[in-house]
């Protein structure tokens, strides 16, 4: 079962990661409250993906760039709104992951 799940995830790497990013964007724009449980669960999931897909820090920083783009666009149009702040927090958390990965590398 575990192996099957692993191989399924590995076969669908692009889809899984795309869904993951979309999930974060959904959380930023369509949820009005923020939950640490959700945030850190997602982060933990991402760390598992890092292990599973052997993702490099460059990938995480790429993700950071996407999130930063979201923060910036949202900031220009809505100021420091709830969604801007949520995106900024996601950016910071992924930035930490990226820095830790680069230390390891």
């Amino acid at each position: 079962m575990k192996k099957a799940l692993k191989s399924f995830l590995q076969e669908n790497k692009k889809t899984v990661l795309t869904l993951f990013v979309l999930g974060i964007l959904e959380e930023i724009f369509f949820r009005f409250t923020s939950s640490d449980l959700l945030t850190f669960s997602a982060l933990l999931l991402y760390i598992l993906f890092v292990k599973l897909y052997k993702l490099k820090s460059t990938f995480t920083f790429l993700l950071c760039l996407i999130l930063l783009l979201v923060v910036s666009i949202d900031y220009v149009f809505t100021g420091a709104s709830v969604s801007t702040e949520k995106a900024a927090v996601w950016f910071v958390l992924f930035f930490i992951v990226g820095v830790v990965q680069q230390w390891k590398e």
């Binding site: 640490d36 920083f61 760039l65 930063l68 923060v71 910036s72 900031y75 220009v76 820095v99 230390w103």
Partner: protein, 1212 residues
């Protein structure tokens, strides 16, 4: 030049005066002369004196200093980035990094330099660079240079600079250590670090030693801030929690200023973090990764609001003693954050620009960032910052050229002979002084009279502390004789009046907002006001600056002997009571304020103000404002830590077993936390939805275990919050009811809870109606549930307040002895004989037959035995009904008679209600309200509000109660009018005003309220004093004294003819470090022997430098027919006599007490001076001795560092 601001920049204008008047001593140069930490500025001011002697003009000095600091900030950030990059051709990236630090929107405000400690903005990069060089080269020269710099900028390493110090240096040094070990892979020379630490402590000893001593002295302000819960949580965590939601992560990422409205250009700064992320994307260097790590740590500290977990952890840090210095956390961390941001940005920029194939792209990108930063900093570059207008002024510039007339005035003030205080007019609110410039502009900051003139002055109303309201009241009532007597009591001899219209008329609000409600509105009427005060003019400079003098008959010299020492049971705000009884102000009044004093101190008299200790005050005091206010909550009910908060509160509630007002207030405060939680987190709180009543839930619900509460979030329900509120209130009512219910005190306690419940009911209704994520149906359910809960609690608190027709005074606790009872004549004059009766121990008294003394009726009373029951009662048969003669006003259908009113609400009308003006409304007065009513099953409310006469005056609601009765019901209430009100109104109106609320009511009846037997009467508060004279009848001879001021921390007092005990008063802020020393007597302790040895060494050392003590007497001032004399001299900081008291005996150590609310008093008996009648005493502030010792050590260390530094060059 702009010299103002919170700590001013007067040291640029006249550093010599600033050093001698405001820096060299541990006593504040202004107001009451509290203990003061300004001496940490000594080396910095000395440094400015040297610079000033070179550049001469203060304007050039300011320009030079600010220029150096701005370019220093850029230069040393640039150099630090260059060192970290450690590659050729990196200068442009380092330069952009340097500019990010110096010119980012987040730092621009800092360049206003409003505080002396803002030097850290350039000092931090400078020291970071020097330490980086040290860690790279292990050359001790860098460390020694750093230590010398810290000496000149010692304010940045003092208590005042602590937040910036602790936010920058620990992390920066950690960064450098990790950088050295991990990246440079070099050894750290421990002996260098130890030497640096010792030299640093040595060089900063002059301010570190007194501060460390203060930190560990209980009762000291710094100790309180660091170690007490009040300092850590009330001042620290509460402030942090209040501002944390306003600090935004995105704004910090874009290095923009927080809590500001930003212009469209600020959007350009979104490009900065992109450079950092792209830089890291291509990064291969550990140095940059290290910078990124520290950048992240600082981002968390400077933002706070990144995930709830971090916020909770951050809040947890406030349990660490001293962490409350970071309560304004963003301002404290932002500069360190920006510095590391700049370090990271510079390195990232280097990587990004090196990725381009063509140089032209690098140049373009560099130019782009250069342009952004330059455009943003353009106002700073072209000098707009000093040209800003003073806050809330009518276009008065902050930069000015000092008026030569003002310089003359200041010189004159310096020569004023009496060692006395100055009142500076126009008085401001916060203690600022406004001084007009020669060609426009004005100075607004701490008083120049104090900081440059050397005279302690009161420039602001707030500086008058406990006397501030009284001063305003006396001016409002035009009681000018009493005002002069009060000013004299505060040691104010001189009045400095600045008649410049600019400094008053062009500042319509700040800094005169509060005082202008009483003081004249403009300079024209100010002049008239000063004429009315009838002071003696002693100096007029071009009809612009005036100095007046208060007559000696009112003036209390700086050191004096009290004619009467009195123990008074009331606060200093009531000092007018003893002053009107004694008609002298040469008194030492002790007010017990929680600090016990030694039983050896014998007061001439005990004076008990019984005004507020009659039977009825149990009721009136129940409407006083709570000591705790409405709670602020920091932990939401879903937090894993919340059950621990519940546990802590439960323990606190269990400890509140008494039923005094403070304990009831605390219980109410803890109960109201439930309402505050619903207000803040109601939208995320669940609803059970099927609770019939809170009483039912009370039976069914049990407190969950800790684990259950954490895992299942058992507290996160609206109904549970209601229940926890209900239980707390229900419990406190139980406790109150255990007491004798006939007692007015019990009724007062019940009434206090009842008032709080009325307020809470309104708040909770509002919260429910406005709550997000709650449907209308759920809101109806919650409203119904809460209404029933409050009604049930209200039923338990029902009682009728008795009318104020009888005032019983209880003096059972008095010791046996002879007493005099005084009754205020003004009160008695308001009544005729029929209306007012006095009964003492069952004997009737007629006021006509009573003795009279000044403004008082007097009755003698002897208490033969302590257990004797006393009764003293005033009967007031008839107080006028204040609404008897006014007519109702209504928009609705009204039927009124002489003693009833009936109001029928027409729901179609927008304006609604029934209103009546109350006759003869007075400020700060209690009133008793009573009527019968019937609301026919609908909810109405009664409101009383008051205001000052006038169209635009602000309205204050002082009572708001809900009325609900199907049958006739009695209503009674008490209200207290606001401070300035002279017009009061009562209004009945339909409550709720909300569709949801209306649906809860019976729809059958018309909306109608009937009212009858309506009355509002003033509650009498006669001033009654009980006086006991303790001294024997034989007249006492008070000694005479002559005092000499050596400097603000030391006075020599020559006492003559001291045959009886007496009370010596020093009119400076009370501080246990003020000591009375007998200079002729040695103390036989090891510490004193050592002190004498050090003193002798000091004396010899000072003599070497030719600082011999010389007599500088310039005359003698005589007061009270020569009983008090002052020798006029100049201040002496250091001479051979400075050390004369070291190791000498302190006298009356335990008989030192606070007098008149602020001054120092010593009760001295002949035995304290071994029966001598003529002797010399020295009054000195002992912290100054620590400063001398510390300065000696610091200067010594300074020379050691200079020698060591020279040696490093010599070796080379």
């Amino acid at each position: 030049m702009d010299l103002g601001g919170d700590s001013s920049r007067l040291y640029f204008y006249d550093p010599i005066s600033y050093l001698s008047k405001a820096t060299l001593y541990v006593v504040s140069p202004s107001s009451y002369g509290a203990e003061y930490l300004g001496y940490s500025n000594i080396p910095f001011i000395f440094f400015l004196i040297i610079l000033r002697s070179i550049v001469i003009s203060p304007t050039i000095l300011i320009c030079m200093f600010y220029g150096i600091s701005l370019s220093g900030a850029f230069l040393f950030t640039y150099l630090a980035i260059k060192e970290l990059l450690d590659t050729k051709n990196s200068w442009w990236a380092a330069a952009i990094g340097g500019l990010v630090y110096a010119f980012s929107p987040g730092t621009l405000d800092g360049w206003k330099h409003v505080l002396i400690t803002y030097n850290h903005i350039f000092l931090s990069p400078l020291i970071f660079y020097l330490l980086l060089r040290y860690f790279k080269t292990a050359n001790i020269r860098y460390i020694l240079g750093t230590i010398l710099i810290t000496f000149f900028f010692s304010p940045n390493f003092s208590v005042a600079g602590a937040p910036a110090l602790f936010s920058f240096y620990p992390l920066s040094i950690l960064f450098l250590i990790v950088y050295t070990k991990l990246i440079l892979k070099r050894k750290i020379v421990i002996k260098h670090i130890v030497l640096a630490l010792i030299l640093f402590i040595g060089i900063q000893a002059f301010h570190l030693f007194p501060v460390v001593s203060s930190i560990f002295s209980q009762g000291n302000d710094i100790h309180g801030t660091i170690f007490t819960d009040k300092g850590k949580f009330d001042r620290g965590l509460s402030y942090f929690s209040a501002i944390a939601p306003s600090i935004k992560t995105s704004i910090n990422l874009f290095i923009l200023p927080q809590m500001r409205s930003l212009d469209i250009f600020s959007n350009v700064f979104i490009v900065f973090p992109f450079v950092i992320v792209i830089g890291l994307f291509f990064n291969k260097k550990k140095a940059m990764l290290l910078a990124a790590t520290f950048f992240l740590i600082l981002l968390f500290f400077a933002t706070g609001n990144i995930t709830n977990i971090w916020l909770s952890l951050y809040k947890g840090l406030f349990t660490i003693p001293g962490f409350s210095m970071f309560r304004n956390f963003h301002s404290q961390w932002v500069y360190t954050y920006l510095f590391f941001y700049a370090l990271l940005f510079g390195q990232a920029f280097y990587i990004v620009t090196n990725r381009f194939n063509k140089k032209i792209y690098s140049y373009m990108l560099t130019f782009f960032f250069l342009a952004i930063l330059t455009i943003n900093a353009w106002p700073l570059i072209k000098g707009d910052i000093p040209n800003e207008m003073l806050w809330q002024s009518k276009n008065v510039k902050a930069s000015l050229k000092i008026d030569p007339d003002y310089e003359k005035a200041l010189s004159y003030v310096r020569t004023l002979p009496a060692d006395a205080k100055v009142l500076t007019l126009p008085l401001t609110d916060p203690g600022y002084q406004v001084v007009g410039g020669k060609d426009g502009g004005a100075y607004m900051g701490p008083s120049t009279i104090s900081y440059l003139g050397g005279k302690k002055d009161f420039a602001g109303y707030d500086e008058l502390l406990g006397y501030k309201e009284l001063v305003l009241q006396l001016i409002k009532d035009k009681e000018y004789e009493k005002l002069k007597s009060l000013l004299g009591l505060l040691n104010i001899k001189y009045i400095f009046y600045d008649a410049d219209p600019v400094i008053y008329n062009k500042f319509p609000s700040f800094p005169y907002e509060q005082v202008r409600t009483v003081f004249p509105k403009d300079q024209k009427s100010y002049k008239q006001f000063i004429q009315e005060l009838d002071f003696k003019e002693i100096k007029n400079i071009n009809n612009k600056f005036f100095v007046f003098e208060i007559s000696d008959e009112y003036f209390l010299p700086h050191i004096t002997i009290a004619e009467k020492s009195v123990s008074f049971n009331n606060s200093i705000t009531e000092i007018q009571t003893p002053l009107s009884l004694y008609k002298i102000n040469k008194i030492a009044l002790f007010n017990y304020s929680g600090v016990p004093i030694d039983s050896q101190i014998k007061f001439d008299e005990d004076l008990i103000d019984s005004t507020k200790s009659n039977s009825y005050t149990h009721l009136t005091s129940s409407i006083d404002v709570s000591s705790f206010g409405f709670p602020f909550v920091s932990w939401d009910m879903t937090s894993p830590l919340y059950p621990f908060i519940v546990f802590r509160e439960k323990k606190e509630l269990e400890s509140l077993t008494g039923v005094d007002q403070i304990q009831i207030d605390r219980t109410l405060f803890l109960a109201e936390k439930r309402i505050a939680e619903l207000e803040k987190w109601g939208k995320d709180t669940k609803i059970v939805g099927n609770v019939g009543s809170i009483e039912d839930l009370d039976v069914a619900w049990e407190e969950p275990t800790l684990v259950k509460a954490m895992l299942l979030q058992k507290y996160n329900y609206w109904e549970i919050s209601f229940l926890r509120f209900y239980r707390t209130i229900d419990n406190v009512i139980d406790q109150i009811e255990k007491e004798n219910t006939a007692n007015l005190k019990v009724k007062g306690n019940k009434y206090r809870i009842s008032r709080a419940l009325h307020r809470d009911r309104e708040i909770l209704y509002r919260i429910i109606q406005r709550s997000e994520n709650v449907t209308d149906q759920q809101k109806m359910y919650l409203l119904e549930l809460s209404t029933r809960m409050f009604d049930s609690l209200d039923d338990r608190l029902q009682f009728a307040i008795p009318p104020p027709s009888r005032l019983d005074y209880n003096w059972d606790t008095l010791e046996k002895g002879e007493y005099e009872i005084y009754i205020d004549k003004k009160f008695v004059q308001n009544y005729n004989q029929r209306e007012l009766n006095l009964e003492m121990n069952n004997r009737q008294f007629s006021f006509d037959a009573l003795d009279q003394e000044n403004d008082w009726f007097k009755i003698l009373y002897t208490k033969t035995d302590k257990s004797t029951q006393n009764n003293f009662t005033l009967f007031i048969t008839q107080e006028p009904n204040l609404i008897a003669n006014t007519m109702w006003k209504s928009f609705d259908k009204l039927d009124q008679g002489t003693d009833f009113a009936s109001l029928t609400i027409n729901d179609d009308l927008e304006a609604t209600g029934l209103m009546k003006e109350i006759d003869n409304w007075r400020p700060k007065t209690y009133y008793f309200v009573s009527f019968d009513y019937k609301t026919n099953g609908k909810r109405f409310s009664v409101k009383i509000f008051d205001r000052k006469h006038g169209e635009n005056s602000k309205k204050f609601t002082i009572l708001e109660d809900e009325l609900f009765a199907k049958e006739w019901k009695s209503y009674t209430s008490l209200v207290l009018s606001t401070d300035d009100a002279n017009a009061g109104f009562i209004q009945f109106l339909k409550s709720g005003g909300n569709v949801l609320f209306n649906q809860l009511e019976s729809q059958e009846n018309v909306t109608k309220i009937d009212i009858k037997n309506f009355s509002i009467v003033k509650i009498p508060t006669p001033k009654i004093l009980v006086r006991r004279v303790n001294v024997p009848n034989k007249p006492r001879q008070l000694p005479s004294l002559t005092f000499t001021r050596v400097n603000p921390t030391k006075y020599i007092v020559r006492i003559q003819n001291a045959k009886d005990p007496y009370t010596l008063v020093l009119v400076d802020q009370f501080n246990t470090n003020w000591k009375l020393v007998d200079p002729t007597q040695d103390t036989d302790t090891i510490r004193s022997v050592l002190a004498r040895i050090v003193g002798k060494i000091g004396k010899a050392g000072v003599a070497i430098f030719g600082m011999q003590a010389i007599d500088q007497t310039k005359g003698v001032l005589r007061y009270f027919d020569g009983n008090v004399n002052q020798t006029v001299t100049q201040d002496v900081f250091l001479d051979t006599k400075t050390f004369d008291t070291w190791g000498k005996t302190e006298i009356a150590q335990y008989k030192h007490f606070p007098a008149n609310g602020y001054a120092n008093a010593w009760y001295i008996e002949p035995k304290d001076m071994r029966g001598k009648t003529e002797y010399t005493l020295v009054i000195e502030m002992t912290s100054q001795k620590m400063l001398y010792g510390g300065l000696f050590l610091s200067i010594g260390t300074f020379f050691v560092v200079v020698l060591l530094l020279a040696k490093t060059f010599f070796k080379k």
